[in-house]
Every structure is written in structure tokens, then in C-alpha cells.
């Protein structure tokens, strides 16, 4: 110590080193602070992304005719809103709005709140809707007489969820007159609809479904088809088997070889024919279940389900493509279990074109 104190050299070096260490520590501290702040921010971003994802997962549909089971409760009216959940998450209904679309006075809007102490009218119960519920009934007690609504004096019903999504329907729904038997075909308990939006497709470049009557522009990409099917039977659900397929027959006159492209059913979560967006169909653990028709008087025949085809072989996610600039005749093979017994039917379906 004495030697160090008597040394003439080195004091500047020691002081300089001391300052250097202090500054390095300060910078390190700053970096650590920034890392902590960024981490906290990133956690918040992830949390809010999760909230957004859950909100997007909510998907409700009103089942025809929208309102059923009219009745009275004391001086008030009561009825059920019939809803099915196609989303992957439980939905909590926050509020209902009944908007008389033909009325612009202050009486046009009726707000229905969640049942709670102190609310004796204009409330609803049974607002929790689980994923996959196909005939959920929300009981509404109100002063509004919805049985008097007509197609010329319709209401718009808004269902608001606690996550902020809004689902709406018009009541009563306007049913277009059936054009003979051209709008759909019924084979066995299955109904196949031929409206413009009942057949859609996606490819690796067209990743959102669009009508698939004329596939254009198309240059031989992997392809997936979406077909709307309704179970019109009111006595049993129908389970689809893994060998259901969508067969595309090439027409030789367009220069094609006349070969057949069988496209097999894929998992319902598939969106477009990509590596992580199309999944094999699991007939045992995650089958397509076409729900039975809850109302035999329903003019639409029941609840529609979108069936997806995109695999080259049954039970896989191997993609398949068509050839461009050809005309195809489509037949579908539907293999299903109905009332515990196996069936198989051939559906003469549509004719489509691919154009480059």
C-alpha cells in the first residue's frame, strides 16, 4: 500500500480506468433497461394479439328462421334466437339490438341486455355459446312483438359479443322462390346446392375462397375445392368417411387426355393447399359431422356445412393440381355413416373450366 502510494506513475491510468469502468457499467445498465422494457412491451403485444385472435375465432350464424318458440311471459313476449357456432371458442353474448328497419322513429331500436338483478324486461338468458353448438337458443324476454314482423317490415337483429364482434341477421328472412328443382339436388339425405357461391376453390396463389365455376387465371397450381352440403334428414347426423372424393374428369375435346383427378376430403381447418394450411382428414378423431335438420319445415332443408377437398390420396395432405385450359365434369363420391350404417353415393355435380 505504501509502495503504491509512493509510486509516481499510474495514478492517471487508474483514474482513467475507473471512469472507463463506470461508463461501461452505465451503458450495460442502459442496455439491460432497454431489454427489460422491450420484453415487457413484446409481452403486451403478444397478449393483445391473443385477444385479437380469440375475437377473430368467434363465428356465429343465425339458423333459419332466426326466431322460434314465440310465447308470453306475463305481460311481455318471449322467444328464442336460434344460433349455431362455427368458431373455435366459447362466445359470451353481451347485448342484442333489435332494429326495426322500416321505422326511423325513436321506437325503432330495442336494446336487450343480459339478465341481471333489477332487469325485469328486455333481457336475455343463455348467452354462452360453446364451439360447435348447432342449435343454441338464446331466450329473449321483451316488450317487442317479433311475431308481427313481416318481410315488408323487417327487423335487423344484432348480436354483440363480449369480445366486440357483431353478428347480424334480418328477420323475417326473405326466402327466394325455388326455381323448380334447379337450385339443388337431393340424393339420399344429402342436399347439394347450385347457387353461385356453393362451389369455391383456393390455390397456392388464390388463398381466399372464390367461386370455382371458371378457375382463372390458372397455371397448374395445387388446388382445393369447397362444396356446400346440407343434411336434410331430421332423424340423424351424418359422419363423412375419409374416402369421400371430388372427381374431375377431363374432356378430351379440349386436348386433354381424358384422365381423372380424384381429389379427396381434407380436414375442415384447411384453408388453401399449402404445407401448413391443409391438413389430413381424421375420420376417427375429427370427422365432418353434418348436423341433422332441426326444423323439417325449414325451406333451406337444414344446416349447411362446407366440405373441403384437396388431397391426392385419402387421409393425407398431399396436394393435387388440375391441368390448365381444360373442361372438367365433376362427380363426387360421398361415403358416409347415417344412423350407424355405411352408405356411398355418386353425385353428378357441376362442370368447371380452368383457364390460364
Amino acid at each position: 500500500m505504501k509502495r503504491f502510494a509512493r509510486r509516481r506513475k499510474g495514478i492517471g491510468t487508474v483514474l482513467g480506468a475507473g471512469y472507463f469502468i463506470i461508463i461501461v457499467l452505465a451503458i450495460f445498465n442502459l442496455i439491460m433497461w432497454e431489454v427489460t422494457q422491450y420484453d415487457a412491451y413484446q409481452q403486451l403485444v403478444n397478449q393483445m394479439n391473443q385477444v385479437d385472435q380469440e375475437r377473430i375465432s368467434e363465428n356465429l350464424e343465425f339458423i333459419d328462421p332466426g326466431i322460434t318458440d314465440f310465447g308470453t311471459l306475463g305481460p311481455n313476449k318471449c322467444f328464442n334466437l336460434t344460433i349455431q357456432s362455427r368458431g373455435g371458442i366459447t362466445v359470451n353474448t353481451a347485448r342484442l339490438y333489435f332494429y326495426n328497419y322500416s321505422d326511423t322513429s325513436s321506437n325503432a331500436l330495442k336494446i336487450i341486455e343480459k339478465a341481471a338483478a333489477g332487469i325485469s324486461v328486455n333481457y336475455f338468458t343463455n348467452g354462452f355459446i360453446n364451439p360447435g353448438e348447432s342449435n343454441h337458443k338464446i331466450r329473449v324476454v321483451t316488450t317487442l312483438d317479433m311475431s308481427k314482423a313481416t318481410a315488408s317490415l323487417p327487423y335487423i337483429i344484432y348480436l354483440v359479443t363480449e369480445r366486440g364482434r357483431t353478428f347480424s341477421t334480418v328477420y323475417p328472412r326473405t326466402i327466394l322462390p325455388r326455381p323448380g328443382n334447379m337450385g339443388f339436388i337431393d340424393i339420399g339425405p344429402l342436399r347439394f346446392v347450385f347457387d353461385y357461391y356453393s362451389l369455391n376453390y383456393t390455390t397456392t396463389t388464390q388463398q381466399t375462397p372464390i367461386p370455382g365455376w371458371v378457375i382463372k387465371p390458372y397455371s397448374g397450381q395445387a388446388i382445393m375445392f369447397f362444396v356446400k352440403v346440407i343434411n336434410v334428414a331430421s332423424d340423424s347426423d351424418i359422419k363423412l368417411k375419409r374416402i369421400c372424393n371430388f372427381d374431375c374428369f377431363e374432356n378430351i375435346y379440349t386436348g386433354a387426355s381424358g384422365k381423372t383427378h380424384p381429389i379427396f376430403i381434407v380436414d375442415k381447418a384447411s384453408t388453401w393447399p399449402g404445407g401448413s394450411t391443409m391438413f389430413p382428414y381424421d375420420e376417427v378423431n375429427k370427422p365432418y359431422i353434418l348436423p341433422k335438420n332441426p326444423d323439417p319445415n325449414n325451406p333451406q332443408g337444414g344446416i349447411s356445412t362446407i366440405i373441403k377437398f384437396g388431397a391426392a390420396t385419402p387421409g393425407t395432405a398431399t396436394t393435387i393440381s388440375l391441368d390448365e385450359n381444360y373442361v372438367y365434369l365433376i362427380f363426387m363420391g360421398f361415403f358416409y355413416v347415417y344412423r350407424g350404417q355405411d352408405y356411398g353415393i355418386t353425385i353428378p355435380f357441376v362442370a368447371i373450366q380452368t383457364q390460364s
Binding site: Y19, L44, V51, A94
Partner: protein, 159 residues
């Protein structure tokens, strides 16, 4: 005492070593001065950076927590006002209190103010437009919050 006087005389009378001593003193002084200046500058720069970054993180976090939904837009015709009334129902579905600051109808500002909405709360804003809404017309409505989030949507007036 005599000893000290003798050594002081020897030090003053010595011809060598004065430059070495001065050099040492100068070097130490320069190191201290420069080091202090560097320390002060570094502290200032870091403080300014930390303040700015802290403000950015805290502001962005508050903005990120905001979520609001336009639940319903109600077009009404109050007597004497000739189809100029619109009521907007807004719900706070985020994780933070929201302050609504402006409402735009067809890209024209029709309401300003501050309306606070707690988490999960729903409230309405009643507007009186300067021109009538047309029957069946599609109206573009934007609601802006004080922190800068905007929720937009198209709503159709009744026929």
C-alpha cells in the same frame, strides 16, 4: 524541524525532477477533467435516450391496449330535424380506459369532445348531421380515440 527545512531547501535547490512532477500533476488533472466531462456527457445522453425510449414504450403500450367496437349505428328522424340524427353505440373491449375524441361521418368530422369508456363499458354518441342521411345510403363512420386509434365501418341507413 531542522530536518524538514533541510529537505525543503534541497527540493528547491534541486535542478532535476521538477518537470516530471509537473507532468504528473498535469496528466492527473487532464484525466480528471476529461473523465468528468465524458461522464457528464454520457449521463446526459443516456438520460435523454432513456427518457425518450421510456415515453415511447409507455405510449405504445397504452395505445396497444385499446380496443373498441362500433356495435350499432342507429339512423333516426327526430321530429323537425329532417333525417339528420345518428346514434352510435361503442363498446370498450380493450384492456384500458378509452377516451373517444372524434367521430367522422363520410370523412367529415361531426363530433369532438372527450367521452371516457371504462373496460367493458358501452355508451352511445348522438350526432346531428348538417345534411340529411339518405334512405338506404351507405355511410362511412370512423370513431377516433384520444390516443390515436381509429375504428371504421360502413353502415346502411334504413330505406
Amino acid at each position: 524541524m531542522k530536518k524538514h527545512r533541510r529537505s525543503a531547501r534541497r527540493f528547491i535547490g534541486s535542478r532535476r525532477a521538477i518537470s516530471t512532477l509537473l507532468a504528473n500533476v498535469l496528466v492527473v488533472t487532464m484525466v480528471v477533467a476529461l473523465g468528468t466531462m465524458l461522464f457528464i456527457w454520457t449521463t446526459g445522453v443516456m438520460g435523454a435516450y432513456q427518457g425518450g425510449a421510456g415515453l415511447w414504450f409507455s405510449t405504445r403500450s397504452e395505445v396497444m391496449k385499446e380496443r373498441l367496437a362500433i356495435e350499432e349505428v342507429w339512423f333516426t328522424n327526430v321530429v323537425g330535424q329532417d333525417h339528420k340524427n345518428v346514434t352510435i353505440y361503442i363498446r370498450n373491449v380493450g384492456a384500458n380506459q378509452i377516451k373517444i375524441s372524434a367521430v367522422y361521418v363520410n370523412s367529415t368530422q361531426v363530433w369532438t369532445g372527450t367521452k371516457a369508456l371504462e373496460v367493458g363499458q358501452v355508451d352511445k354518441i348522438s350526432l346531428t348531421l348538417t345534411t340529411s342521411w339518405g334512405r338506404g345510403c351507405v355511410t362511412y363512420i370512423s370513431v377516433a380515440t384520444l390516443r390515436g386509434n381509429v375504428v371504421k365501418g360502413y353502415w346502411q341507413a334504413p330505406f
